[in-house]
Symmetry: C2
Subunit: 354 residues, 2 copies
């Protein structure tokens, strides 16, 4: 608990002084005022996060956290649970979507086993993944809590630890997830923290049909009714209806915020983790960049909760960190707007009428 409390104590929001410095420069660029729109908003954020007029963006990492979910016993996913460890192998072999898109964005992929229900010891021993397995999969949330409160704290602290282990060699982080069934706990989290109806925020995940979707809604309603997570206590929400990789992602966001590093939050599962982080430490949201709006209907409610407007809307619903990787290009572009464009004076260009 010491690590979590210490980390939360270190988090303060964006630095208004550095935002103002950045704004003063952007206001003078030789272009119609604020005509690079959201890239300029993002440039302010980068300056406010990093306390720099030349925010570092060269060293990029997507951290993809994997975990399994007991609730798959209820038939909430079209894929078998074996796919979680199979995909971890695929990540390590470089053949997954996140590998392709991280390469394009100039980012490394770091894979963390937060709670896969399979033995990944060989990959961990060879240093190809980071082993922070809390337990081999959560319990079935439709029959009881996902995990104990101590495990929830352990998952968050493991995520903090992963972040702190990387911060000295990484400028911008992306988050990613892998875990068959993990839209189900993520949906339970958004329904609980936003106080909205389950049906409103439940989506088709990897491709449920109408009957399967109705069943998934029932399973999530059962999980919430049975476990009664306390929306005022984010660790309780994670323990009752969350997942190990979701806790790890919450910790990753807290660790990034404590180290004042921008963190691009990917899709529905990553954003569930970011909600937990924000519920624990509201100022952590100042270091979050919402990468994209996914197809999952609840994702919009998550972004409202975080006060974020995502950068991309490309009908993505893969997870793994793929949307974060694509959006990294825009973060690098935003940095270029801050540092690489001449002012009216520098460029000897006439300004607008006053």
């Amino acid at each position: 608990m010491a690590l979590l409390a210490d980390t939360v104590a270190k988090i303060s929001g964006q630095d208004e002084e550095w935002r103002a410095k950045a704004k003063a420069r952007l206001d003078q660029l030789a272009l119609p005022h604020w005509s690079l729109g959201r890239l300029m908003d993002l440039a302010l954020d980068l300056a406010g996060m990093t306390r720099s007029m030349e925010p570092a963006v060269d060293r990029r990492v997507v951290v993809t956290m994997a975990g399994d979910h007991g609730v798959v016993a209820e038939g909430v996913s079209r894929f078998p649970q074996d796919v979680t460890p199979q995909m971890v192998h695929n990540f390590v072999n470089g053949g997954a979507g996140i590998n392709a898109l991280a390469r394009q964005a100039g980012a490394k992929v770091v894979v963390v086993d937060m709670g896969v229900a399979a033995d990944l010891g060989e990959l961990a021993a060879s240093g190809r993944i980071i082993d922070r397995k809390v337990a081999p999969g959560t319990a079935n949330i439709a029959a009881g809590p996902a995990m104990g409160r101590e495990e929830a704290v352990a998952a968050i602290e493991a995520g903090i630890d992963v972040a702190l282990g990387l911060v000295d060699e990484v400028d911008i982080f992306g988050t990613g997830d892998m875990g068959i069934g993990n839209t189900t706990p993520s949906t339970a989290i958004v329904a609980c923290l936003c106080g909205c109806g389950v049906a409103e925020v439940t989506g088709r995940g990897t491709g449920l049909d109408d009957g399967q979707l109705a069943h998934k809604i029932k399973v999530i309603e059962t999980a919430l009714d049975l476990n009664r997570p306390d929306p005022a206590d984010p660790v309780d929400v994670l323990a009752k209806v969350g997942g190990f990789e979701i806790g790890g992602l919450a910790g990753l966001v807290l660790g990034c915020a404590a180290a004042r590093k921008p963190v691009l939050v990917d899709g529905f599962i990553s954003t569930a983790g970011a909600m937990i982080a924000r519920a624990i430490a509201p100022a952590a949201a100042d270091f979050i960049i919402a990468a994209h709006r996914s197809v999952e209907p609840g994702h919009r409610r998550m972004h409202e909760y975080l006060g974020k407007d995502p950068l991309l809307d490309l009908n993505l619903r893969l997870g793994e960190g793929t949307g974060a990787a694509v959006a990294m290009n825009l973060v690098v572009a935003a940095r270029a707007v801050l540092t690489d464009i001449a002012t009216f004076e520098e460029a000897m260009v006439s300004g607008a009428d006053k």
Copy 2:
């Protein structure tokens, strides 16, 4: 006229056979079906355009075309006309928004003088810009046609020529524009070709206030009433209410389409050029990728006309090719989705239930 007719004759749409080949591979990737959404749609387009399962994307160029507009005499812009040549110098010196964002995207910037009302001979002589000046600025469309029909054809053919001069060394093109006052002719073009009311599609350009906006609407209405461009004759529309850089951009799109090269169309002015291209050769639209939706209200109508859903929506309104440059990252990402992700079989991952 021979070049225009010959180019149009060479344009055919995307190749359905190559789209089907690409779809067959994308359907097998080790991820939930089509879960990379629009990146997958774009990968199909790239295969259909280039007739390749490994569409080339490494050699990238943004072509930024500059021209001046007699209609600035009516007070439709907050910036003086001098800014057009000043910005051309800024492009050449590498200090503009397009330079910063093209560098980030790994693209070169090629600047073309299509009709700047200033002597840029020194830049042309030193090879730092391409001189295709049709005339030093258009005439005032609120008092008569922008240009003669021969000049309109010359502008389009110059754009084709620029494209054909580059196609052997460029894999993907972006379009860009510079020209004080050029949202005014672009708005006239969309109003004419879409048959919609001027007020509905007129925006604030570089930052007009309410009174200036009302005046701009009146100026455009006057230009359309006076010149009566024929919406069934795109060369007439360009001649009556267009601009030299808009004609050049139309030609650039036609040249790219004839050479089967993807062309990322930037903002409001570039898309006006793309509309002219599509009106001349409907199949040219198959090679257009709409980069972004700008703040200009008429841009949405332009995209409807082209049948395109833009990739980005970042409140950009600069032009220069900046949105095209940012979106190039997504085109490269889409290529990576097609070529760099393993199939279920290759990755030894279990599929979904049937």
